[in-house]
Point group: C2
Chain length 153, copies 2
DNA sequence: ATCGTTTACTTGCTTTGTTAAGTAAATCAC
DNA sequence: GTGATTTACTTAACAAAGCAAGTAAACGAT
C-alpha cells in the first residue's frame, strides 16, 4: 500500500529555496545595476565573456543561463551599444565568436567596487565559512550536469 | 592605495551559482510540469497557498517569488481555470484573499508522486547529507531578509 | 471632516523567456 | 560527390517578467 506522496515544505523544496535565496542575494545587485541601466542578463553575458574570453554563442548561452533566442536578441542590442563584438569563426562558417569590447570591460570595472562591497557585506552577515560552504555545494551540484541545463532569468 | 576591485569567478558568484544550480534542479521538474500544462509559477502559487492557507496577494507574491503585476495576471487565469478563488477581505477593502480550490489541490496531489521521485533521485545522486546541508544554508540565507525580497522567475 | 501618505493592488509598455520553424554551413553515409 | 543528418544559429509569435504609472481604499495628523 503506497501512502499518498506528500510535497515538501516549500522552504525545503530545492527549486524554491534556490529561487528565494537568489532573490535575497540579488536585491542589492539590482539596485546597483538599475543605476547604470544595464540588465541582469547583460551583466551576466559580460562577466562570462570576460572570464572565459571570446566564446561562440551556444557556449555563452549555457554559461550565462540564457536561451539562444534571447541571446541572439540581446547581442544585437549589446553590439549596438558597443559592449560586445561578433566575428565569424574562420574555421566554421556556422559559428560566430563573441568578444567583449573595451567599453564592455569598462562597464564591468565601473561596477567592480560596488559589487565587491555587496559581496563583502553578505560575507560579513552570513559568515565567510558558511558562504564558502554554500558555494562549494552549489558548484558540486552543477558539476557534471552541464549538458542539458537550459534557462530562465 | 586601493587596487582595483576584481570580480569573482562566476562559479563563485552567488547569484550566478544559484541560477546555474537552479537550472540543473529544475530540468526534470520542467519535464513533469510540461506534461500537465501547468507553469512553474502556477505550481509555486499552488504550493505556497496549500502550505500557508489563504493569503493576500502581497504575501503570496513574496512567498512564491513573483512580482505583484505578474501575480495579478496569473491569478486571473488561474481563477478561470478553477485552480484558485479570490474573495475580498471583509476587514480591508483593498485586499483580496486567495484560496486554493479542490481542483487546485488535485493538481498538486496528481504530481506529488512524480515530484517525490525527482527529489529522491536528486537525493540519491547528490547525497542526503549534502542536500540537507545545502537546504539548511539556503534557508539560513533567506531568513530575516524577507522584507524587501522581490522577484523573478 | 479634510489633506497628505501609505498600502494593495491593477494596467500599460518594453524586455525576456519559450517553443517551434526556418536557414545555412558542416559532417556522415555510401 | 550527392543526399541525409547534425550543428549553430536566426526569426517569428506568444506568454510571462519587470518597471513605471495609475487607482482606490485605509490611515494619520490636524
Amino acid at each position: 500500500m503506497d501512502q499518498p506522496a506528500r510535497l515538501r515544505r516549500t522552504d525545503r523544496s530545492l527549486p524554491i529555496a534556490l529561487l528565494r535565496a537568489r532573490e535575497v542575494v540579488m536585491a542589492p545587485i539590482r539596485v546597483m545595476l538599475a543605476e547604470s541601466g544595464i540588465s541582469e542578463q547583460k551583466w551576466r553575458v559580460l562577466r562570462v565573456l570576460t572570464e572565459s574570453g571570446p566564446l561562440e554563442q551556444t557556449a555563452l548561452a549555457e554559461r550565462a543561463c540564457l536561451l539562444l533566442p534571447s541571446l541572439t536578441r540581446m547581442l544585437r542590442a549589446m553590439e549596438q551599444e558597443g559592449l560586445v563584438g561578433r566575428a565569424p569563426d574562420p574555421g566554421d562558417g556556422r559559428k560566430s565568436i563573441v568578444t567583449v569590447t573595451a567599453r564592455g570591460r569598462r562597464v564591468l570595472s565601473d561596477h567592480a567596487e560596488a559589487s565587491a562591497a555587496i559581496f563583502a557585506d553578505l560575507e560579513a552577515r552570513f559568515g565567510e565559512e558558511r558562504l564558502e560552504e554554500l558555494l562549494d555545494l552549489l558548484e558540486a551540484l552543477t558539476e557534471g550536469e552541464d549538458s542539458k541545463a537550459q534557462s530562465r532569468t
